[in-house]
Amino acid sequence: MIAPLALDVAHLFAGGLVLVSFMLLYQDRMTGLINTFALHALVVSLSVAWQAYIQHAPHLYITAAIALGIKAVVIPIALHRIIRRLGIHRTIEPVVGIGLTMLAGIGLIALSIMVMLPITAQAGTLAREDLSFALSVILLGLLMMISRRNAVSQVVGFMSIENGLILAATGAKGMPLVVEISVAFSILVALIVIGIFLFRIRERFETVDIHLLHEHRGEQP
């Protein structure tokens, strides 16, 4: 059986991930957002490493290393470079104000807990908590994507969803290394493609504000 203190530490990391997802909703500057995302990836890698330790599943260490290396170091540096090169406007405008977004975030977390806990009544404590928190992180990432007008923040939201999936998979007794590597690789490819698109959009329209781009969609009313 897993010792209570070990469970508490795992719980602390998972809850910390939810907290950092919440902090992502609070940011109104681009640099702050990317740094918070780096923190998000760091917390998820620490969480996975701890789970590797207590579940005695060494392949999870590799998952943690991949998350740390790619998502906490490489991608944030790349994003910082992109926004410097593009010279994008540095503040992020939320659609409905930060207070309301945070309130919606709380509601989503309550919803995930209320959904996940009764469903997983048969599973072990660790799995139940991880799944509830993972669903919260996924929903908060989606909320981030729909409540911001800025393309870069949508990218960050998308990648935080993937961190939530990693948490869910480790909680449900680990995931095969092959799956993890392929998922991480596809995320990296997606990021490169999005980066290229951002450059093109910026060149063409002088902005990456989604709302303004909407006018150029080509569908006539």
Binding site: G97, G99, L100, A110, P118
Partner: protein, 670 residues
Amino acid sequence: MALEVLLWCNAALLAAGAAGLLLARRQGATPLVYGASLCITLVALVAAVVSLLAPGSLGATRVLPVGLPWLGAHFRLDALSAFFLVVINLGGAAASLFALGYGRHEETPGRVLPFYPAFLAGMNLVLIAADAFTFLFAWEFMSLSSWALVMAHHRRPGNAAAGYLYLLMASFGTLALLLAFGLLAGPSGGYAFDAIRQAPPSAGIAAVVLVLALIGAGSKAGLVPLHVWLPLAHPAAPTHVSALMSGVMTKVAVYGFVRIVFDLLGPPAWWWGALVPLVGGITAVMGVLYALMQNDLKRLLAYSTVENVGIIFIGLGLALAFEANEMTGAAALALTAALLHAFNHSLFKSLLFFGAGAVLTSTGERDMERLGGLIHRMPRTAFACLVGAAAISALPPFNGFVSEWLTFQAILLSPALPQWLLKFLVPAVGALLALSAALSGACFVKAFGITFLGRPRTPVASEAVETDRFSLAAMFTLAALCLLAGILPGYFIDALAPVGQALTGANLPRQEQLDWLTIVPIAQSRSSYNGLLLFFFIVLSASVAAEVVHRFASAASRRSDAWDCGFPDSSPATQYSAGSFSQPIRRVFGSVVFRAREEVDLPAPGDGRAARLQVRLRDVPWDVLYAPIARLVGFIAGHLNRLQFLTIRGYLTLVFGALVTLLMVLTVWQ
């Protein structure tokens, strides 16, 4: 015995109303009617207090041969009625005392004097009614007499519309209650409360009755979104009547809800404990946010009543949740907290309305933007209102804090609830309660600060005079009671014990034997509060500090101009106004809740005209709920109006068509 006394008191009140009608033109009518009301309500108060403190005498019933022939009029005095009789008659006595001074300024006493004792009688009769017919009759009587009082100054702009809306909402509420009682009586038609208690309805019917009771009683109490009449009607009436409507009539509505849901309806379902606190929490926050946006003193107080009714319903909803899960001790705590808050609110709301009335008679103004500096001109009124403002903001050592503290303690018992929705909802409602308490502090800093402090903004404010001694006596009595209920809460909690016992079957621990008059709602190790010690320590520390400083340091002072960062401006227009005080909160909360938008019209440099600031607020329940319904009703009425103008042949065709349709229905049914 007490019940007979109360029935005679009501008869005496009706006689006083008749006397008011007959003698209205005479000189001595005003002191006669109000003096009589004061004495009668004091007698009723004493009777109610005696029966509450001696629970053995409760439960007496009487049947009078008035009303419906096969039913009669049942009257009963039990613990719940006795408690609310204390609240009503205390408020009524205070209002009558205030009116002895205030009523002298009434231009048309003939419109007020007959209806005032009738209003008091109606409220008392609702509380002792023991069958549905008497209850509804007294309820309507109360509504109509208060409507007449609202229309007393019907020529003033806005009052006629307020009266019309009040009548509409009151009738709608009575209709809901009528349907509720009809469902409760069931097909056998037993309308006496005893008969209804013997036959609790099924779960589906009980759910419908709960919703109807919430609508019917809630519209009279002021739950959102049924509150729209309250801020229009309460300020339109004369001040002592406004105090009665806000402080006392809303409690009669709370009584109605408690009687139907806790007493007549049988065991509650768990989801009632989710619906009622949620409605209460939303009402509390919306009420205080509305209040913060107001510049009219009386309207601000009316919206604050909405907030406090929300707090009472939070407590009642928690009691339902605990009762449904058979946690009777917790249910008793939540119910005690709600009822204690009802009592406390009647005290400080009446006090604040009396203060607003005093300001109105002294200056003729209700708009805070035209007042200011009244603490120098009306010092005693200002002191009493300061006590009222501190009490309503739930500040220790006053009484508002005690009932809010008890509600928080009830909320902290929520982890024991088994349902997940309740486990999450109750702390969320606790957050709403905390938010409304903090916002009400801001609201009353604004109300007291802008009205009484600062410099006078208009000449009327700089020439105000203190009010008469009756008004001051009423205000100081209520202020003293606010302090007493705050520092000796144990006695009040013990007095409420019979009510909790009757409705939930459990009790809080007896408070009066505890050391130093502390109150312990659940267990000593869990939580305790001692208002007396806090009050004593604060007064002692302040006095000792003042004495030490004056003796050993300096006691010198001199008067000079204000520092104002070196740019003192003698115009009082440069100080903060009511609108500017609430601007930060309007910007943070109001932009979401009311779609508050500010428009500034600044002239170009060199143009000498004044700048304009316009604040637009949208009342969301009105726009979303009431305005479309009003349009629909107007549309239908407009089309149905054509029935007025048919020819004789047209009417004959209608009669013919109805007859043929009925015959066809009869054929099919066979």
